[in-house]
């Protein structure tokens, strides 16, 4: 499973590409083998020129795109995104939304919680929750 957090939650003392590769550390793989994939994911999300920037040097939208790349580095079967567009500007929000559509077309399963109805409309299935209960 890959997670995209509402509050982004990157490690501040690492740069973008190292943050993307962080989930691989506990899998005991050779990180060098995945470095190219990390750069490719960042490039797909429009961050090829920001890959070596520190977290502080990235805007909120750019940080969230790095977080999306991080969620995908382990090629998870399911991606869970909690309010991924909350702290994101419009341009970054569009990039992330387009990226999720691309992943859906690649038959990836994406679980998104959101208050953004335009994002919810893009889903194959939508569940509404009111007061902790599924109503629709």
């Amino acid at each position: 499973m890959g997670f995209v957090f509402q509050h982004i939650n990157l490690l501040p003392n690492l740069n973008a590409v190292d943050n993307v590769m962080m989930p691989l550390v506990c899998h005991g793989v050779d990180l060098a083998d995945f470095r190219e994939r990390a750069f490719k994911l960042l490039a797909d999300l429009g961050l090829s020129d920001r890959a070596l920037f520190s977290v502080e040097q990235l805007s909120g939208g750019q940080q969230q795109r790095v977080a999306v790349a991080r969620a995908l580095i382990t090629e998870p079967a399911i991606i869970v995104a909690d309010e991924p567009l909350t702290f994101v500007d419009e341009a970054s929000g569009k990039t992330i939304t387009d990226f999720f559509i691309k992943l859906r077309d690649e038959k990836k399963t994406i679980l998104i919680s959101t208050h953004a109805t335009n994002l919810a409309r893009l889903a194959d299935k939508t569940y509404s929750i009111q007061e902790g209960k599924i109503v629709n």
Binding site: F3, F5, H7, N9, L11, P12, M22, P23, V25, C26, H27, R70, T74
Partner: protein, 371 residues
């Protein structure tokens, strides 16, 4: 931690160096040193006891020694009168000549000085050394040789002259000596201590007599330097505990960043053991780095700066010594100990808090840290 390591290694390097110097001085020491004692203080020893001591079973030779302190340029130096007729030890081995020659038995008015003493007074072979006696008489001696001993302290404070010259300088009567040197017969090493202790017991029966064996001298050195280095070890320990407490405090009490980081790592798939492993590696690397820098600083402090303040404290009243390179030794034991005492507190301060944070639910850890 770097400061703690530097302090710790400096003190122990110097203690090891002083211990080595002490061992070297004991190498050429007699088996027993006999001193006169009156009212708890050392007094000149009566030479009439020499035949009695010589007759004790196991005694090979008894030699009179005349020595004392001379003030040269506001520095106290040790003046030792050596018996050139009956040396009993190879003096040139104890005081290997670097330039010039050793004392000759038929020549009075000559001295051999240590290398550091020569440097202190700017003397060379052929120069004259002027010393004033306690009765304010001026004595002049020709420097015939300069020795370079294995012992830095010998080099720094010793002037050798003939026994007759020393007796005249210190005005010691013919029936007395500063102390007596006793050498025992050669025996199997396993019986050496028994032999020495037997002779010591016999001699101690004499009135107003104090007997010092090599073991007693070694123990006295260890006590002096061990006690002083122990004092600094307490200071170091306080510094170390402070560092560990501050680091622990930073990680646990104020450690929002630390808690968030651990929570995030768990959310990304790290297990508790993974996190502890990461912190172990991190702490070990930091500890090794701190210790390495501390050791380098310690060596620099001793070798280049000559250990100001620390040297005076460790050598005690011997601050009257002329300036000389502080004896220090970089021993493997001290280096390893420095690494251990650097790594362990850091691990304590990082691994335990990480373990505590790792047992908390990641979401709570991250939200709580952000709050």
């Amino acid at each position: 931690m770097v400061l703690a390591s530097a302090l710790f290694s400096s003190v122990l390097f110097m203690k090891d160096g002083l211990a080595r110097d002490g061992q070297i001085s004991l190498k050429y020491a007699p088996d027993l040193t006999i001193q006169g004692i009156a009212n708890g203080r050392q007094t000149p020893y009566e030479t009439r006891y020499i035949p009695y001591i010589q007759a004790i079973l196991g005694v090979k030779t008894v030699v009179e020694r005349i020595w004392g302190y001379g003030n040269i340029g506001n520095t106290l130096l040790v003046i030792v009168g050596v018996d050139l007729e009956d040396p009993s030890i190879d003096l040139t081995a104890a005081y290997p000549i670097e330039s010039g020659s050793f004392l000759e038995s038929n020549k009075n008015g000559t001295v051999v000085v240590g290398k550091a003493v020569a440097e202190l007074i700017g003397a060379k072979v052929g120069n004259f050394l002027t010393i004033i006696t306690e009765s304010n008489q001026v004595r002049q001696y020709a420097i015939v040789g300069i020795f370079d001993s294995e012992s830095g302290i010998f080099n720094a404070d010793t002037i050798l002259m003939s026994k007759n010259d020393a007796r005249s300088f210190f005005e010691v009567p013919e029936d007395k000596a500063t102390d007596l040197l006793v050498y025992v017969d050669e025996v199997d090493p396993q019986f050496y201590k028994t032999q020495v202790n037997f002779v010591a017991r016999e001699i101690s029966e004499l009135p107003n007599t104090r007997v010092l064996t090599k073991d007693v001298l070694a123990a006295a050195q260890e006590t002096a330097y061990g006690a002083r280095s122990g004092f600094f070890s307490i200071v170091w320990l306080l510094v170390l505990v402070s560092v560990a407490i501050v680091a622990f405090n930073q990680t646990v009490v104020v450690g929002h960043e630390s808690r968030f980081e651990v929570g995030l790592l768990k959310a990304l798939g790290f297990s508790t053991s993974d996190i502890i492993q990461v912190r172990l590696i991190e702490g070990t690397v930091l500890g090794i780095l701190a210790a390495s820098i501390g050791i380098v600083i310690g060596i620099f402090f001793n070798a280049v700066l000559n250990a100001p303040v620390l040297k005076d404290f460790m050598l005690g009243w011997a601050t009257l010594y002329p300036a000389f390179p502080v004896p220090f030794m970089v021993s493997t034991q001290t280096v390893l100990l420095t690494y251990v005492i650097s790594i362990v507190p850091i691990l304590f301060a990082t691994v335990i808090p990480s373990w505590v944070n790792a047992t908390v639910d990641p979401d709570i850890a991250m939200r709580g840290a952000r709050a």
